[in-house]
Amino acid sequence: MKYMLLMHGVEEHEDGDDLAGTAPEAGATAHDEEEPCWMPWYREMTARGVGLLKGAMLQPSTTATTVRASGSEVLVADGPFAETKEQILGFDVIECADLDEAIHAASRHPVAQNGGVVEVRPILAMS
């Protein structure tokens, strides 16, 4: 099955830092300064047979634009869909056997390990 892991967490505003603010620093400093924070997770998942199909970190929600279309009119507004303390920080699309595997993948993700929340959503299969 395919699942999207949606990362929710509090954004770091002061230094304009993105997901790196909520991601572990250890991975970046221990061995390889260039290694992104999610690499250990990626290796762990690959070893378990969990496929990582796509993933990205997002620019902070201050860069978001909300679009609504009403008939021929397009309504554009600055800011995210919902002004909440926790915003979407990024996402990963994984492929694994079942929800238990997806829950495990989410629990090991750097965002979850650093106080963020991961929403696990099954992707609708197109047949």
């Binding site: 929800l99 238990d100 997806a102 829950i103």
Partner: protein, 411 residues
């Protein structure tokens, strides 16, 4: 009832869960499994009347339900893929495959799937009662005081989530097992408590739910003989249920443990519970249910209330607090201390709990304070505390008990 009707009723109690569980594994379709199981039980009545009660009713029912599922899948061409699956699995008398856990009973798969933490607690309880215990949607709705349509929607939503979110139909692997067993036990104990001490409404007891919880607990204990916490929960439920006949007086009033007529306690349940908890504790892997069962055993072992070993109970509550660091456990510890060392000692523990504020809004806090103050003959303070408890008490019999006590100290 005729012999056949009786046999079908017995088979329903004993075999429903097994038939549904097997059909779910074969077809992967929860609704189809339930419908075909229902059909099989319906046709048993006429078929057994005509050709006699089969030697193994469970096998007859499973085969009939499976054939029904095959028929239905054959007819629906869009489900060709499913049909292949069924044909592949359709080996007569085949034993279900054992998974990582080494357990091969389909009912165990079913209960772990019903109690998966990705479902809401209400959904877990409802699904367990529907699919494993065979209660109808209407019966479950009545038990939880919700409209039948609401309960039906809850069940449909839960089954869809299992299918669409890919909740696996299996006994969890070893590394997940302790946590998941805890989740299953939590559902069973909630079910028991919902029957034993109804959280809402006029009736204090709903014995159907307690009986179902005990039945499912026994089943789980048979299927998982190496889990002492499972035996601990069954022992706990049995020993609490044993006191059922003495909990209410002839007017439906609540009788406190010390005032209960102990000759009304169910000795068969007590000895079964005692046997279970003693065997479980010998495994030296204590847990919260085993400790609570040991506490219940301290009560049931005492021939008179005055013989109760409160020092042992106080010690057990303090052990329990290490597993379940909750204010309610701390309150029970305070009560045991009061019984062992006197009401003044208990009151000081209760007052420090009240100061922490974690029990605000919980009626047993002022009710316990009131009882201790009454024992210390501080009547005015006791009356105030009874009044505070009355405002918070959730059911009518509990309120009547408090009003009676209030009249004693205020009068």
């Amino acid at each position: 009832m005729t012999d056949v009707q009786l046999a079908v009723t017995d088979a329903f109690r004993d075999e429903w869960g097994r038939v549904v569980a097997t059909l779910i594994r074969m077809t992967g379709d929860w609704d189809l499994a339930e419908e075909c199981a229902q059909d099989a039980f319906a046709s048993a009545l006429s078929s057994w009347t005509a050709s006699g009660i089969p030697e193994r009713p469970g096998a007859w029912l499973t085969t009939t339900a499976r054939n029904r599922a095959l028929d239905r899948l054959r007819r629906s061409k869009t489900e060709a893929a499913k049909l292949q699956e069924v044909v592949a699995l359709n080996v007569p008398g085949e034993a279900p495959p054992a998974d990582d856990s080494g357990v091969s009973d389909d009912r165990l798969r079913l209960i772990f799937t019903c109690c998966h933490p990705a479902l809401t607690l209400e959904a877990r309880v409802a699904l367990t009662l529907r699919t494993l215990a065979g209660l109808s949607t209407a019966e479950i709705a009545r038990a939880f005081l919700v409209p039948e349509a609401t309960m039906a929607k809850r069940l449909v939503r839960a089954k869809h989530k299992i299918r669409d979110a890919g909740i696996p139909y299996r006994v969890p692997p070893a590394h997940l097992l302790p946590e998941r067993v805890g989740g299953v036990l939590g559902v069973l104990y909630l079910l028991f408590n919902e029957g034993y001490s109804a959280s809402a409404g006029e009736d204090l007891l709903r014995p159907d739910l307690t009986a179902e919880a005990i039945r499912l607990g026994r089943l789980l204990a048979r299927l998982m003989p190496d889990e002492p916490e499972v035996a601990g929960l069954v022992a706990l439920m049995l020993m609490q249920d044993a006191r059922r006949g003495a909990r209410l007086d002839s007017d439906g009033e609540l009788v406190s443990l010390e005032d209960q007529d102990r000759s009304l306690w169910d000795t068969a349940e007590i000895s079964e519970g005692t046997r279970l908890i003693e065997a479980a504790l010998r495994r030296q892997r204590p847990g919260p249910y085993q400790i609570q069962a040991a506490i219940a055993a301290c009560h049931t072992e005492a021939a008179r209330a005055a013989d109760t070993d409160w020092r042992q109970i106080a010690m057990l509550y303090s052990e329990l607090g290490k597993f379940v660091p909750s204010a309610v456990v701390a309150l029970n510890h305070a009560v045991a201390v009061a019984m062992a060392d006197g009401p003044a000692a208990g009151l000081s523990v209760v007052d420090s709990l009240a100061a922490e504020g974690a029990l605000d809004g919980y009626y047993l806090l002022p009710a316990t304070r009131a009882d201790l103050l009454r024992r210390l003959d501080r009547r005015a303070e006791a009356a105030d505390a009874y009044r505070a408890a009355l405002v918070l008490a959730p059911t009518e019999p509990e309120r009547r008990y408090l009003r009676r006590r209030l009249a004693e100290v205020a009068g």
